[in-house]
Amino acid sequence: MTTTVDNENRLSETFAALANPTRRAILAHLARDEATVNELAAPFELTLPAISKHIKALERAGLVTRGHLAQYRPCALDASPLAEVATWAEQYRPVWEARFDRMDDYLGRLRSQRVTEGHDD
């Protein structure tokens, strides 16, 4: 039970972190290469403290790790929390949605067929 609650809290943190466009842009940057806070701040018209706040949110979600030894403490991406967002079940959602779209189309075809047959009677 505790495990489930922990998982859910972590998922909430992950989703909250992903909900912000600046943070998604930071993740996109880190997906290419690790970077310092200064490098991450460069594309944005934001102050360093504002960028640091975003990075802290990403760290809490476990999406970003920071080097401890290097002088500039570069940020790096840890994509593992994202794997939980895309469980096997979530990967099936678009498959089912597409199936039900086809079911809807098929029902429409059956209905128009019936109408046509009705006119023939």
Partner: protein, 164 residues
Amino acid sequence: MIDSGGSQDAVRIERTFDAPVDLIWQMWTDPEHFAAWYGPAGATMPVAEMDVRVGGTRLVCIKVTTPNGPMQMWFTGEYREVIANKRLVYTESMSNENGDIIAPSDMGMPSGHPTTTEVRVELEVLGGRTKMVMTHIGIPADSPGAVGWAMAIDKLAAHIDTQR
């Protein structure tokens, strides 16, 4: 836990169709209707078996054309709950054409994909329309039931082999 099926690894989709409930029921239980919507575009679905009663088996094949030529996938399962126009529950696993279950990892699926999943369909009449709730749930490999027994028998068979 909300549900004994487990609330986390499941996908739940709700749709309302402009069709009577008995027709939606047939969409799931009549092989011809089922084949008309279930497979991806361009696929054909020869249904080998759809014995829609509790304990009855199902065996369906999806044939798709890939750039590397035609490909067949087989799926097997068992009907667990059959209440006409109301509720249908069946299991699903990848299999061969004989209905022998194949582990997803052996089929090149990513780890974490359960060997057996359960599909629940619940129907509700809304005037002339039908509300459908579909839930697709992963069954933990250690749960009791058909899979658990199949695994136990596999282990027993392996054990007997080592004793020989």
